[in-house]
Amino acid sequence: MAVLPLVYLVVRSFERGGSVVWDVLARTRTAELALRSLTLAVSVTAACLVLGVLSAWLVARSDLPGRRAFGVLLVLPLAVPSYVAGFTWISVVPDLTGFAGAFVVLTLVSYPYVLLPVAAALRTADPSVEEVARSLGRTRRQVFFAVTVRQIRPAALAGGLLVALYVLSDFGAVSLMRYEAFTLGIYTSYRATFDRTPAAILGLVLVVLAIALTVGERRARGLVAHRGRRQPSAAPLGRARVPALAGTIALVLLTLGVPVVSLAWWLAAGTSTFSVTDVLATTGNTVAVSAFGALLTLLLALPVGILAARHQGRLARGVELAGFAGHALPGITVGLALVFFGIRFAPALYQTVPMLAFAYAVLFLPLAVGAVRTGVAHAPPVLEDVSRSLGHGRWRTGLRVTVPLAAPGVLAGTALVFLTCAKELPATLLLRPTGVDTLATELWTRTEVAAYAAAAPYAAVLLVVAAIPAVALDRFLLQDDSRR
């Protein structure tokens, strides 16, 4: 399934023969754009790793005041579509364009990809290792770098990979910031020359880049830390309390404050109007299709994630890789691939909600696979063996032992997919049932004609919708605390 977009790209790339492919690849422009995209991806990923790990530690391990509220607020930027973030930033800081603009906007919307898995890892990692190091006379800082960083490395790198792939596939922020990235070449092909062949060839290049990044991440990942039996105690921040709090507030203001202030300004300054019933109906649609998309993604991710966590076989690796490759493709490419296959092989499902949910699954599978993989890795196989030896069957063992242990990670992944589905635009436009609008499509329709006041409520509701899984996620992890 994850391979469908690749098959489509190969079909379209080679329909006019290999010489066209070579022509497109040999353009210096292609290499130039690839380099620009890679530079951006690497810079944003580095910044996200720093921001994500710091904020995750503050939320999960420190005695930062109001850390539960921050746990939700810091995740919310994921709900801000990159084109909304880009537009609001430009209206506040008009000079912020080019590389700097794309860097700032993409970092601020995607660092939660690192924060989420790292916070989960910090909450579940075994604190006794750190305590042993402390008792052996290491300072808190030494312990952090020697022990904690090692414990969260797989989670942080997995998050970093998602950031890198997201940056490669992004078109909204880079086009608004006028940073010429790889996706620009793909979109120019569709929008200006109406030619699908160069777009497909460039898509394949993106896939190769994604595979290289994924393989690199796997080499660097290391082993997943052992899950602890109890929660680590909160580390007192001491004198660092005030700067830590100020830094966290500043991050929230930058990530959420800028869009919210801009939205309020649009509402106040513009004269275009909106209808409350339309906003509500659209919200219902968005929640429904995103929930369907998230559930389907989860269902498909479970076997892949379990395979990847338990068996390091070629098949598991291949499937996982294909999924990640799809994640680096812009939504338009994956959307067209499903148009191609959908109308030929499943015409009854074409442009229905299940087909759209399927597109979401192809696009966002890696978000869920990563979470499932990490979650399952936290449930040691030995516990399953015990269960099996007590006479429980494979399924019963899975349900009673593996699922509860892996649940926090899996739920985090599902929430993440839900958020991402809710803001997805290009594939939604191609595959939604005719006449069904989502918050993202309504937002697009209005911003495209500069009706910002009418657009603002849709953006605001999108944030609220995204807050629900973020809150649920946080509560789930807290419940997990009290059970032990």
Binding site: L176, A192, F194, G270, S272, I343, Q351, G435, V436, T445
Partner: protein, 336 residues
């Protein structure tokens, strides 16, 4: 258990919503690359004119052209309503558009329809110069493309490289003045360090906010922006119309075509006729401030010269889809 029950309910609800939203073969299905905010109200009225249920699917014109080509014979679309001639030309060239009847084509000047009768313009937009009168007088502004690349405008001109209207303009320079001229002009344009913008709206915004002396945009963005700001008097930016057959006065069109093999071709023809009717044409002139393609209709709201008076360059609009070469030139000049 309760949770499982809830999931089942949700799935059932989704299935129900899927079925109700599903479009039927008895409806007229319009793929609209034109924005719902601009034409939604009009397409709602179209249902009465056509006599059967109408379903409209909105998207970007370029993306929709790709979608229509991917869908091929299997498409449910009956009509393609496009923001630009290029997207229509692209699917027309693949034989995906049916020939329009003569009475429909007769409603629109000949230079605003496809030579192969596959599509017809419904409204037009002109390239204009949006300028800031606080910084430059209208009399100082360029009257030809040669004057745009005058070194005195170094770093003071805004353009939107990713925008279709900019690329169509460059294509018109190539078609009208030849490849060598276009290449040379683009080189000079690039050397003049023009300011890049994401789209026409951001150019206009920069001019209006006093950050840019002038920019190359389409005329109607000014009217849309004025409407959002509560009136034309609130606009600091003003429009300069070039004319004289210069590429700077290029007129591009939004248009419509009927999909080849549509099983609703009678209703589709009615829909096209409706889009060229007095009612629809007035909508374009008044609501979107575009030039009506039907020269018999005038705007009752905006000061728009008639389409036949635009002194636009004489160009075959279907040639504007030959963008491959344009993009190549733009890439060579470092302007794409």
């Amino acid at each position: 258990m309760r949770r499982r029950a809830r999931i089942v309910t949700l799935a059932a609800a989704l299935l129900a919503s899927t079925l109700t939203a599903c479009s039927s073969a008895d409806d007229l299905i319009i793929y609209s690359g034109r924005n719902e905010q601009l034409v939604g109200a009009l397409l709602d009225q179209l249902e009465d004119a056509v006599g059967i249920d109408v379903e409209v699917r909105y998207g970007g014109s370029g993306e929709m052209a790709a979608q229509l080509l991917e869908e091929g014979q299997g498409t449910e679309a009956d009509v393609f309503f496009s923001q630009d001639a290029g997207a229509l030309g692209a699917i027309g060239a693949q034989g995906r558009l049916a020939e329009l009847p003569a009475d429909v084509l007769g409603m629109v000047p000949e230079n605003y329809q496809a030579k192969d009768r596959s599509w017809v313009a419904t409204s037009a937009r002109a390239r204009v110069i949006a300028y800031d009168p606080r910084v430059v007088e209208e009399s100082e502004l360029p009257r030809t493309i040669e004057e745009v690349v005058d070194p005195k405008w170094k770093g003071r001109v805004g353009y939107a490289p990713a925008n279709g209207s900019w690329q169509a303009f460059v294509t018109s320079v190539r078609v009208l003045k030849g490849e060598d001229f276009a290449k040379d002009w683009l080189k000079k344009f690039a050397a003049n360090e023009p300011k890049r913008f994401d789209n026409n709206i951001s150019i206009l915004k920069a001019v209006d906010e006093g950050q840019l002396p002038f920019g190359l945009i389409n005329h109607y963005y000014w009217y849309a922006s004025a409407a959002e700001k509560g009136g034309e008097a609130n606009m600091k930016a003003k429009l300069h119309r070039v004319g004289g057959g210069d590429p700077l006065a290029l007129v591009n069109v939004a248009g419509v075509g009927i999909i080849q093999g549509s099983n609703q071709s009678e209703a589709a023809r009615k829909a096209v006729r409706f889009l060229l009717s007095e009612q629809a044409q007035r909508h374009f002139a008044d609501q979107t401030a575009e030039y009506p393609a039907n020269p018999g209709v005038k705007s009752s709201k905006h000061q728009l010269p008639p389409i036949t008076d635009l002194q636009s360059p004489d160009i075959d609009l279907s040639k504007l889809s030959s963008l491959q070469e344009t993009v190549k030139l733009l890439q060579e000049a470092g302007l794409s």
